[in-house]
Symmetry: C2
Amino acid sequence: MRISEVGRQAGVPVATVKYYLREGLVPPGRATSPNQAQYDDTHVERVRLVRALTEVGGLGLATVSRVLAVIDRPEKSRLDVLATAQCALLGTEPADVEEAQAEPPATRARDWAQRRGWRVHPRDPVLDTLDSAWAACDTAGIGLDETRMDAYADAAERIAEVDVASVPAEPEAAARQVVLGTVLVDPVLTALRRLAQQHVAVSHSVAEDA
Amino acid sequence: MRISEVGRQAGVPVATVKYYLREGLVPPGRATSPNQAQYDDTHVERVRLVRALTEVGGLGLATVSRVLAVIDRPEKSRLDVLATAQCALLGTEPADVEEAQAEPPATRARDWAQRRGWRVHPRDPVLDTLDSAWAACDTAGIGLDETRMDAYADAAERIAEVDVASVPAEPEAAARQVVLGTVLVDPVLTALRRLAQQHVAVSHSVAEDA
């Protein structure tokens, strides 16, 4: 098909398709003459994916590019896809093996995760994010002690079980599910927490009045 | 103490303290001369709080201002505090009683919440947020059906049980816990979800290899 047809089927302007091509986010078509090329359904699919990552996922083009690199050179296991996709989202490279052997810095989040028996990479930058978020709770006097953190972690494990069960075996679909599922389900979970707070508070209040 | 000492103890530049004072986010000190004022620990505490809400909570100053209004004029019941705090975060006013009697618009999130038996206000704007977030997942082909939504909601209820149990009886402390706990624990939960995904994925992968 022609480039205009790719745009039509993907529901984006032709100028956007050309821009994605120039940026290397969509692979080139098969040249049929010096200034024309043929495209197929894989191009339409890729344009839709880039659009979803930027528009709905709110990712910048540099991050989209890293995410697509995961999809295009898929790792062997579902776990590698997960780790690489998370790093692509965070803008960090996965720690290499040498570095992984070295002693990681001891922090509250690392100590806690280790005591909990969580199989996470000790240099994972998400642990640093958790450290900062935990410290902010302390500063604000939220009273987020390890017991409460463990209770939240129990719930996070249930969420993660659902997440991981939703990841298909096929690498491209897996990368898509991991990246988009991670980014797009966060707002769903935030809304659910607010609603559940009301439900629980009202239920307790009714029980108290009875 | 002098304003410079407030900045030092709160760990922020003096210019930031002055900015918070100008914006009315921190109450004025006790004037000791036409161009000097004395501050105390409550000012240090408030500066830390504003900082936490903006830096970690990611709130804009207008929202911070509404949140502080909830803390400074706490409502009577724990449930009122919860509702008012959530509205302050969302920038909406609580629905009044008249409006609450009218039939709310039927949406996917409302229907789902009702079937689930959640005691939430049918006009709660969080339901609209949930609708949008759910629609975005559909657009991206995440496959978030009602079964998966219910599984996430089970986890959200566990989180909410912990949240509500952490709310103290005293109104000012309750408002503080609800607002800050809601805003500041979100990033903790997001980080926990990422880590739990890894833990679950690694555990499954090890189980598969065995």
